[in-house]
Each structure stands twice: as C-alpha cells, then as structure tokens.
C-alpha cells in the first residue's frame, strides 16, 4: 500500500497515535496521568483477555492470576539481582508456561465449567502468594521493587524511568506491541479458526481445525500478555501483594471488555480507559456505583452484545447502507 493511500485509509489511527505520543505534553495533573498509565496497562490485560474470551470464546477467570504470576516473577527476580529487562520476558514466559499446564486439564471442559476451574486457579494463585512467605512475603507482599533499569540507547544516552512521562512511554510501547500482535493474530486465518472454535466447535473439528490445540494456543498467548502486564505493573508500582492476583481485577477487566466490545480490538482499550474515568467521576456514590455498572452491563449485554464498538460498527453499517456506499472488495477474504 502506498503511503498516501495508507494515510487516506487510516488517518484516524495515525491521528490517535499522534495524540497518544503527545499526551504527556497535554496532561499536567499527576493524578490524571497515573490513571492514563494504568489505562494503558489494563488495556494490555483486557486485550489479552479478549483473545481467549472474545475471539476464542473461552471465559478464563484466571486472568488476574496470571497477571499476579508476572508481577511476582518480576518482583522476585529483580530482588534476586536480575535486570528488569530479563526478568520481564522470563516472568511473562512463566505465566505462559503455567497457562499451558493449567490449560491442559481445564480447556477440556466447556463453558461455565471452564470458567469455574480457571476461577479456582486464580484464587489459588492469590492464596499461594499470601502463604508462601519466604518467596512472596505473605500478605504483606513485596515492597521496594526496583523501577525498570535505565535503557542505554545509542546516540541519545540512557533513558531512566523515574518520571511519569518515561513510564507512560514504556507502557505505551508495550500496549502498541500487544495491539500489533493481537491484530496480526485475529486478522489472519489463525484468528479466524479461533472464532470458528468459539462459534461451533463440532463443525471446527469437521473442517479440520484442532479445537483443543487452538484453545491452548490462545490461552497461552493471552496469559503471556497478562504476565507481561503484571511484570510492568510490579516494577512501576514498587509494591505488590496477593490482591494483585485478586478475582476482583479479573472482573474489572471483564467489565472493560464486555462494555468496550468483546471480539474487537478497539473495544478493550475503550473499556480500559473510559470505565475507570467514569468510576472516578462517580466516586461520590461510593459502593452504589457498582449498581450503576450492574445496570449498564445488563443493558449492554441485551442491546449491544458487542459493547460500545459493536454499537459503533452497527451505526457505521447502517449509515453506509443508507448512503449506498458499500465498498467491499475481495481483499478482505483472509484478512490483512
């Protein structure tokens, strides 16, 4: 695709990227900036939850468990003297590896059985974190986890991560990496076979798709990114505790995903940014705001099964039908 054509088709994405890159110059409030950084981090977890739940149709409730494994991995390894840049991929791989082992038995069950068994695993992770005191510091958790080591960049010099701006660019870089990988996966035949497994597992088998292997792959990749996000979280926050792997976090991401739009790439990011902001504005309602989210969730699931993004796509489709400008080309067959 020629660069000008690319700009014409994807100008909105380019604009968004520019905005994201310039964001540190637009936000002056440290508190707001911190919310943005957490939004990026939780976008990664929600995007990866989206792969296994949204695209592959397997409701994993162990996501915060794997986030916690990544977090504890980075905390313990950096305390042992390892560089963050080595500890992070190792911890993400650990989460992926444990995900593989957990997936072997649990992915043989379906629907709510899979949800319950993964939920149990998530709870077990936080119980282990609370009781394996020599390693995890028990319920006090681990404090004083080092920030990411400064990155030596040729010509520019070292980049440290003490400032919020540097931390923001760090999480943004990982978010973009996650987004790129998710995009490649879901817009390919491989992603299509994940959706086939979600849609009709028996038929998927009949057309030659190994559904079990597909689910394992999706689960492992999702858990890799959950672990990755957990590792970054540990290093940026400096303290972690068993609540880092709590079920509550999984349910938060689940709400981000369902409200933002499952099985879309923009939905999880919209959810991860918009919902915490709404939460902030509804602070004054204290516990009652959960009622509002309950109602929102019910409304969205009934009227917009694919969340905000689904509603937007519907609107676009309708306006396109209305104006009769259907520009469908055969290029879209196997995705981009």
């Amino acid at each position: 695709m020629a660069p000008t054509q690319f700009l014409r088709d994807k100008w909105s994405y380019v604009l968004l990227l520019l905005l994201a890159l310039l964001l540190p110059f637009l936000i002056t409030n440290r508190y707001v900036f911190q919310i943005v950084i957490m939004g990026c981090l939780f976008s990664i977890t929600t995007l990866s939850l989206n792969l296994i739940l949204g695209y592959t149709g397997q409701a994993s409730l162990a996501h915060a468990g794997f986030f916690g494994i990544g977090a504890y991995g980075v905390a313990i390894l950096t305390k042992a003297g390892l560089s963050f840049w080595l500890a992070l991929p190792l911890s993400a791989l650990l989460a992926a590896g444990i995900g593989f082992l957990i997936g072997l038995p649990t992915l043989r069950s379906r629907g709510s059985y899979f949800a319950i068994s993964t939920m149990c695993f998530g709870v077990i992770v936080s119980i282990v974190a609370g009781n394996w005191i020599e390693f995890t510091g028990g319920y006090n958790g681990i404090v004083g986890i080092a920030l990411p080591n400064p990155l030596p960049i040729p010509l520019i010099g070292e980049i440290g991560f003490q400032t919020q701006t540097a931390q923001y660019y760090l999480v943004l870089a990982f978010l973009l990496l996650t987004l790129l990988i998710m995009h490649r996966l879901v817009s390919s035949l491989l992603g299509l076979s994940f959706m086939a497994i979600r849609n009709n597992e028996v038929l998927a088998g009949a057309v030659g798709i190994n559904a079990f292997a597909g689910k394992i792959l999706s689960f492992v990749v999702a858990n890799f990114f959950a672990g990755l996000a957990g590792g970054i979280y540990a290093s940026l926050m400096g303290t972690i505790s068993p609540s880092t792997a709590s079920l509550e976090l999984t349910f938060n991401w689940l709400i981000f995903l369902l409200l933002g739009g499952a099985a879309t790439l923009a939905g999880p990011i919209i959810g991860a940014f918009v919902i915490p902001v709404i939460m902030e504005y509804l602070q004054f309602l204290a516990e009652y705001r959960l009622i509002i989210f309950g109602v929102m969730l019910i409304v969205v699931i009934i009227y917009f099964p694919r969340g905000v993004m689904g509603a937007i796509t519907n609107l676009k489709q309708r306006s396109r039908d209305f104006f009769g400008r259907r520009k469908e080309t055969i290029k879209g067959v196997a995705g981009g």
């Binding site: 390919s188 035949l189 038929l203 798709i209 055969i330 879209g332």
Partner: protein, 255 residues
C-alpha cells in the same frame, strides 16, 4: 477401495444404533445410504467422520486404519462432511466459512502469522483464490460478504456443501443435503451435487429421504434398517427388493 468399513457397531447404553455394518465405497462413485428414521444413518456418518467413537469394528481409508481418530485428523485425511441440521459458522461471513473450510490445506501457525512469512503470504493468497473459485462453483459469489445468518435455507445448504468441497477432500459425506427444502431448491442442490461428482470428480456418499432424488443421483444404494444393512445394489435392484419394501412400508407399523 476408497473407504472400507468392517463390522462397525455403536451401542448407546444398551441401544444398538449401528450393528455390524460392512460398507465399501469405491473411488469416484456416488453412493446413497437410505433407510427409515432411526436406522442409524447419521450415526454411521458420525462414526466415519470421527465424531462418535465406535463400540467395535474398523474403518479404513485407502487401506489406512482411521478408527478412533479425532474428527480434525480424519478431515485432514480427506473425508469432508456436512451435517443434517445445516452447520455453519453463523457468526461469520460466507467468505470466512469457506476460508475455514480450506484452513487445513494451509500452514498458518503462530510464528508465521506473527511475522507474516513468505509461506504465510502464499497461503493467504492461495486461500483467497480457492475461496473465489468455490464461490463461483457453488453460485454464491454475489453473497460473498454476507453474514451466514442472512442467507436463505437453500443458500446455507449450498454453502455448507462448499465448505466441504473447498477442503479438496477424497470423499464428501452429505447428511440430507436437501432436508427441509422445497422442490425447486432440491433440484438446484441435486444439480450441484452432480456437478461436484462429475466436474470435481469427488466421491460422494449421501444420506437422503427423498427417494426420487436418490434414484436420480445414486449409482449404488445401501439400505439400513435398525442399524444393519438390509440391502445393497443399483437403484433398479433396490426399488424391487422385497426387504426394502417391507422396511419402508411394512416397517411403519412395527416402528
């Protein structure tokens, strides 16, 4: 011999659904399996395609034993199938369904998808070509980007046959390809099946209730009743077979 089924049986908690069936499918033939409701026809297809594990007996495809294999491996070996209640990926578009049918002829693993390797690009282009070709073959080119749920019953039946066809199978098992269709649509599907047999040269094994269609299509007919083969022969022979007439007419009062 393309497919050889020996003494194949399936018991469901005491109920004998398929009872010692011997069946041979020759390369390139059009075989029909008929029989009253509950005769075990669909279970037989389930056994051959690996969806149901046989209680005993063997299945050989071109001399290789495939008994007890998982459905995706059997599909990979070249047995494609359709389902009685039309099964499609109804959350996806027509082109996606066909691309998924061809998926087993592509590599597209995790790493090649991640790095868009040359192999991955070749597979993608080949898939696009095959999808186009199949769309034209089954006459759904104008509905390529429609979602399955918007297709008519007959179009869905055609698409499900297309999904089986695109996988370049050695044989296709069609489970009631015209079930629930009106007469004109039935003729259209019959023509499509003939085309697949003649033009694509694929062996076809179909289950059907509409005797007129079976007599028109099949070169050979196997009749099942209560899980056993009760007759086998050309359409001419079958229509005169007393056991078959008994099963279809006299059998009514027994069942």
């Amino acid at each position: 011999m393309l497919l050889e089924v020996k003494n194949l049986s399936k018991h469901f908690a005491g109920l004998v659904a398929v009872n010692g069936v011997d069946l041979k499918v020759r390369e390139g033939e059009m075989l029909a399996i008929v029989g009253p409701n509950g005769a075990g026809k669909s279970v037989l297809f389930g056994l051959i395609s690996g969806l149901i594990r046989p209680t005993y007996g063997q299945i050989h495809l071109q001399g290789e034993e495939i008994t007890g294999w998982k459905p995706h491996r059997i599909a990979d070996q070249g047995i494609a199938r359709t389902f009685q209640t039309t099964a499609l990926f109804d959350q996806l578009r027509v082109v996606d369904n066909l691309a998924l049918g061809y998926r087993l002829r592509t590599a597209g693993g995790f790493w090649s998808t991640l790095f868009h390797t040359r192999r991955w690009k070749e597979d993608k282009n080949r898939t696009t070509g095959k999808v186009m070709e199949t769309l034209n073959f089954i006459g759904l080119a104008d509905k390529a980007f429609h979602f399955v749920s918007t297709l008519s019953q007959a179009e869905q039946k055609r698409l499900s046959i297309g999904v089986a066809l695109i996988s370049q199978p050695k044989m296709i098992l069609l489970d009631e390809p015209t079930g629930g269709l009106i007469l004109e649509d039935t003729d259209e599907i019959t023509a499509l099946i003939k085309k697949i047999h003649k033009v694509a040269g694929i062996t076809i094994c179909l289950i059907e209730h509409k005797m007129r269609m079976v007599m028109d299509l099949a070169e050979r007919i196997v009749v099942l009743n209560f899980g056993s083969v009760i007759a086998e022969g050309t359409p001419g022979e079958i229509s005169k077979n007393p056991a078959v007439i008994e099963a279809y007419l006299g059998g009514e009062s027994v069942a």
